[in-house]
Symmetry: C2
Amino acid sequence: MSQFSTSNFKLGIICGGQLGRMLGLAAANWDITTYVLDATENCPSSKSCDVHVLGHHMDYDAVYNFGKKVDMLTFEIEHVNMEALRKLKSEGLKIFPDPELLAIIQDKGIQKQFYAEHKIPTSPFDLYDSKEGILEALNSGQISFPFVQKSRAAGYDGKGVAVIQSAEDLHKLMDTPSMVEDAVAIDKELSVIVARNERGETKCYPIVDMVFNHEANLVDYLLCPADVSQNIELQCQEIALKIAEQLDLVGLLAVELFLDKKGNVLVNECAPRTHNSGHHTIESNYTSQFEQQLRAIMNYPLGDTTIKTPAVMVNLIGEDHYKGPVYYEGFEEVLRISGAHPHIYGKRETKPFRKMGHITVLGSTVEEAVSKAKMIKKTIKVIST
Amino acid sequence: MSQFSTSNFKLGIICGGQLGRMLGLAAANWDITTYVLDATENCPSSKSCDVHVLGHHMDYDAVYNFGKKVDMLTFEIEHVNMEALRKLKSEGLKIFPDPELLAIIQDKGIQKQFYAEHKIPTSPFDLYDSKEGILEALNSGQISFPFVQKSRAAGYDGKGVAVIQSAEDLHKLMDTPSMVEDAVAIDKELSVIVARNERGETKCYPIVDMVFNHEANLVDYLLCPADVSQNIELQCQEIALKIAEQLDLVGLLAVELFLDKKGNVLVNECAPRTHNSGHHTIESNYTSQFEQQLRAIMNYPLGDTTIKTPAVMVNLIGEDHYKGPVYYEGFEEVLRISGAHPHIYGKRETKPFRKMGHITVLGSTVEEAVSKAKMIKKTIKVIST
């Protein structure tokens, strides 16, 4: 008789940011022992997980040795040393999602090729080795403004992305292997999270509408349920399910999509993990995305994703021009707003546009939640002391 | 600029059972540093709190020294060394609820006298020093069957309580200072949790209906919203608010009440802390009782207590005849039930009737949640390996 709960079972989580932290809190609820690998002392997960192992996720030895300590491995980031993961897998360690799935997602070029091969709608693209190649393609008319360049290797929270509207933006071009795609005339940016377990059971969350702060290139707030037709919602969920099946996913996959101005749904990109666009599920859905990840990787039945209450999620982002020990100005005032739930990630230092926490606010309607969210955004500021 | 969140602020919690554990998880969400005092290694809170100090809650030195390490003190149990609390308070430590409030609640005789003095409806009672005194009162006709004897000093989870239906039960009488009250002809056992902060702001939770397992003398399951008239709900909430005001409460107070067969509402007893009858609030209310306790003791605005979804809570209690390393038989099957959320407290050993965890199950109606709860009770068994 073995089980994950109240046992010596050890779940390893690679990287200990806010996603690992909230996964650790969900695991604590089932009394699962969690190990986290992170190179930073006092990383957000260091408090919520049982054992913090210091080490870098891109370092072969750190990842390999960490894997040898645990019974199952998952991650909160897709950039992990692949060689170590493959070696661990070959030695029998359960790793979810699978390293080969990570290999597809890690490289934004291969990710796009995967969509093309599997006839998953996405904007037209080409791969380039250097800045020079892109400039040549522009000159020859193969690329036209506006377009988006994404570095193939890097990319998290908008890093490694250049939006080129016109010749004036060409100085932003990165001189690195990259994927260049047509800029989409965006009506809405949507997200859907899908879970799949080893038995192939799947569950989709209701789709969310992500409203962007274009200055920080981060989600400003997101709302759920999204104001789109049932037809669009179904299209998004079908696409997410198809990707999950084609990738043979075990775990969660967050699929970011564009609804363009002509009403087409196009995949932007995927992340095989819990996601910023699923934080509201802690309060607003029957099953949070963090519990769902546990269910999926442990091959348990997947949880109901029904919405309990409409919700808006506001990221708490470090104010521009502030750097140093963090202070949440207006924290108490926010608690006066009915249904507002702050989540503080425990990062000691703020810096411009750093994700320091989030606030989920519930309402009996989305409109009510949006109006509270706007009040919250005016009330709280992440500054330094 | 000072704040509780992401600071060096240390919250001390006396006793590290499941209530302390879930309070620790709520505090983690706001990045509050938690210290717990508990005499048991691997107590349920030891994983969710930041620092576990080994020591007994009734030991003067343990409590006093623990208090000196923290910036604010609260507890998950009402039986704490009073002398140490008073000394700490005199030295300026913030202790919520106040030690003098604990002194009233700790002694079931004084607690009853408090209700009588403040005209709070409760069943008629008398105090006795010994078993002999009770037998004399029976002989003289001052007491009549059925009645309930409660030890003045002890009492948690039905311990220290003797229900005397007839002369045949007289062997159950405890020879200790006790409070004897008329047995109430119970229609329903209800509970209401009230929160109050230092500014005197108050919030009541919707009342819950507690269905008892009389063999174990523990709640079998509870449901919310309770099936009572609005008038009864208001009466319960008014009583709870009145007690909270009269006690000058800062924190939470769980008020257990009887609805008798004539439709009268009578207070059974109170606990100045989070309570088993509030566990469902984690999933089913805008604000959980654990977050509410933090808000109350930190003098923050109190959270909205509105119900998001009807819920039933089932205690996971050690099966009779099993003692040893715990195994949750049927855990996976329970996860198949939509809206079922297990909370495992992390106690390594089960024993008959020990509270090992709970499962909250949500439904679109109470009836649906009750029928799922009945299925859960048939599915899961807490046994030993």
